[in-house]
């Protein structure tokens, strides 16, 4: 037998042998798993984003089967997935409207000046801890991109030191909400576009020094919006997303002297 033939024979036999061993091992050492887990995983989107609160779709499936987890927690799959799961598990489920994240601040480099030059770790929580953060406004976006890095689908971009969520990409997993040390990011219903882009609780004169587009608590919007859809929380106007604002939207944007009410 020539060397080539020997090699061919040896490798073929080795391959068959290894394959046989693997096949036997797959039978003998098979792990017993509830077949329903695989079926539930097939319904879930399998992106493993962690938005449901568990470490991946497999864990959420286990939680559904064994821990009585809520069926509407997959924000990526949304209504469709929740209903399919409900059908599979034989229960009904309440489905809420899809949400998207929004950064309630428009204090970019041009609008909100810094009060010192920060030198250190480019992380928002770390920057916030160094002498209270380098912006004059102590409620505004620091712009070091921690939320953008936390987002599993890259839905947040940093634009002139201001975080901006692209709602069409957002899977509303909530990671950015948890990451922001100033709690600027909120999850709001997807259909709502009018927002007060400011989170500063400071009084008007201070806000004027801190940012060009901050809420100065003139309370005009609370009067213009229908049915108390916008109310004051101290010195900050806050939208109540349960109440609709449709025909007044344009007026609100135009009349806001701080230019912080905008349509997203």
């Amino acid at each position: 037998m020539g060397p080539l033939t020997t090699a061919l024979v040896v490798f073929t036999l080795t391959g068959i042998g290894c394959g046989a061993i693997l096949a036997i091992a797959a039978r003998v050492f098979a792990v017993e798993e509830d077949p329903r887990l695989a079926e539930i995983c097939a319904i879930l989107p399998n992106g493993n984003c962690g938005g449901c609160g568990w470490a991946g779709c497999g864990e959420y499936a286990k939680a559904i089967l064994f821990d009585k987890a809520e069926l509407n927690l997959c924000t990526v799959g949304g209504t469709e997935t929740a209903q399919k799961l409900a059908k599979y598990m034989g229960v009904t489920v309440e489905v809420a409207e899809k949400k998207a994240a929004i950064v309630l601040c428009r204090g970019n480099a041009g609008n909100a000046p810094r009060r010192f030059l920060y030198n250190g770790v480019a992380d928002c929580a770390a920057a916030n801890a160094v002498d209270g953060g380098d912006k004059i406004c102590r409620y505004g976006c620091l712009g070091y991109g921690s939320c953008a890095r936390a987002c599993p689908v890259n839905a947040i971009s940093m634009d002139g030191n201001l975080a901006m969520v692209h709602p069409e990409l957002c899977i509303s997993c909530g990671k950015c909400v948890k990451t922001c040390p100033r709690k600027l990011i909120k999850l709001v219903p997807e259909s709502r576009h009018l927002h007060v882009f400011c989170s500063s609780l400071d009084k008007g004169p201070i806000v004027k020094k801190a940012c060009k587009v901050g809420c100065i608590a003139c309370t005009l919007c609370t009067k213009l919006a229908p049915d108390s859809a916008i109310a004051m929380n101290g010195a900050l106007a806050v939208v109540d997303y349960a109440k609709p604002i449709t025909k007044e939207a344009e007026t609100l944007v135009q009349k806001c002297p701080g230019h912080c009410i905008q349509q997203a």
């Binding site: 009060r115 010192f116 030198n119 004059i136 609780l201 400071d202 020094k209």
Partner: protein
């Protein structure tokens, strides 16, 4: 939360810098360390030019330029910040050149340099992330890819040839030792005081930077005084080579050369003072460094004695590089205030 007080609004420009403590620094920098290493390599560079003339210059310049250009291009195409300023590519270039035989074609040196920087360093993430010494990776790539060229030696200016080694030679002392031992079973030359002195000065064949033990020793001591390296790695490396070789020679004097020969031939001096002491790939703790040096020494002599290659320093160091993380973990100091048993 209530009002932001007026005192929180700064009164005027220019803005001050605010950072976390500490607000003082020793002035050390990677660039300064590299400059010290380059300075420490200058005696060896002079010796290389003395013994190998144009080849030394050609190879060093080719390696340094290729390394620097490779790093610049690699960082740019990976869209990362330029790091050429920290001079680590220059040091890699010089060290790689020092590990090459004088007659190596320039294009091969360039290939080795590009591999060392791009594959062994930048693909892992750049300085600080490479697990293996880049210069040695370049040398080993060349050794494995171009074995004939990497083991062809020519000499230019060896003043008085060492006993038994030819003037226009094709072998290094170690190479000659291996082939003669394998074929005839005896040592081809006597190694006496005079020969040892010549080896120390560099009057022997070998890679352009490794021949002059004295020049390398001067450089090494300079690095010690500048605290760029610590004594544990080089001293334990050389001492282990010496001890192991002594033991071998005592057991079987007919087939084993003296420890002095082992230390002064091949790449032990270059390896111990400049290659094994590479910070990124060697352990961080003092006891870890000692273990590293001892390991390198043992492996070097093992490979020389029983391995297929006549010279083992490169492989010894690379193998020890691979277990540096383990050594770091095993030699963690006992934290102040923790009981000795509690250390994990």
């Amino acid at each position: 939360m209530t009002d932001t007080p007026a005192s929180a609004v700064p009164a005027k420009e220019p803005l001050v810098v605010v950072s976390s403590s500490p607000h003082a620094h020793s002035g050390a920098s990677i660039r300064r360390i590299m400059l010290d290493v380059i300075l420490a390599l200058t005696p060896a560079m002079v010796a290389a030019c003395w013994f190998f003339r144009w080849n030394a210059v050609r190879l060093t310049v080719a390696c340094v330029i290729s390394c620097v250009v490779a790093e610049f291009v690699a960082r740019k195409s990976m869209k990362r910040d330029a790091t050429v300023r920290d001079l680590s590519a220059v040091v890699t270039g010089i060290l790689l050149a020092f590990n090459l035989p004088p007659a190596l074609p320039t294009w091969m040196a360039v290939v080795g340099s590009v591999f060392a920087i791009v594959v062994a360093k930048q693909l892992f993430g750049g300085i600080g992330y490479n697990p293996f010494n880049p210069a040695l990776m370049g040398r080993v790539l060349l050794l494995v890819s171009f074995p004939v060229h990497m083991t062809t030696w020519s000499t230019w200016n060896i003043p008085s040839p060492a006993a038994g080694v030819d003037a226009v030679t094709t072998a290094t002392p170690l190479g000659l030792l291996k082939t003669t031992l394998d074929s005839t079973g005896s040592i081809p030359f006597a190694f006496d005081g005079a020969t040892a002195w010549q080896f120390l000065l560099g009057a022997r064949n070998g890679c352009i930077g490794e021949v002059s033990g004295l020049a390398l020793l001067i450089g090494g001591i300079y690095l010690l005084t500048r605290r760029c390296i610590y004594w544990q790695v080089p001293v334990m490396f050389i001492a282990t080579v010496g001890v192991f070789a002594t033991v071998l020679q005592l057991v079987d004097p007919a087939h084993n050369v003296s420890p002095c020969f082992h230390i002064l031939s091949g790449g032990v001096m270059l390896g111990a003072w400049f290659m094994a002491t590479d910070m990124v790939t060697s352990p961080v703790t003092k006891s870890g460094m000692a273990i590293f040096g001892i390991g390198c020494g043992i492996l070097t002599v093992l490979i020389r004695k029983w391995g297929g290659y006549p010279e083992g320093v490169s492989f010894a160091i690379l193998i020890m590089n691979s277990i540096t993380p383990l050594i770091n973990k095993a030699t963690r100091p006992r934290v102040f205030g923790h009981a000795i048993e509690a250390r994990k």
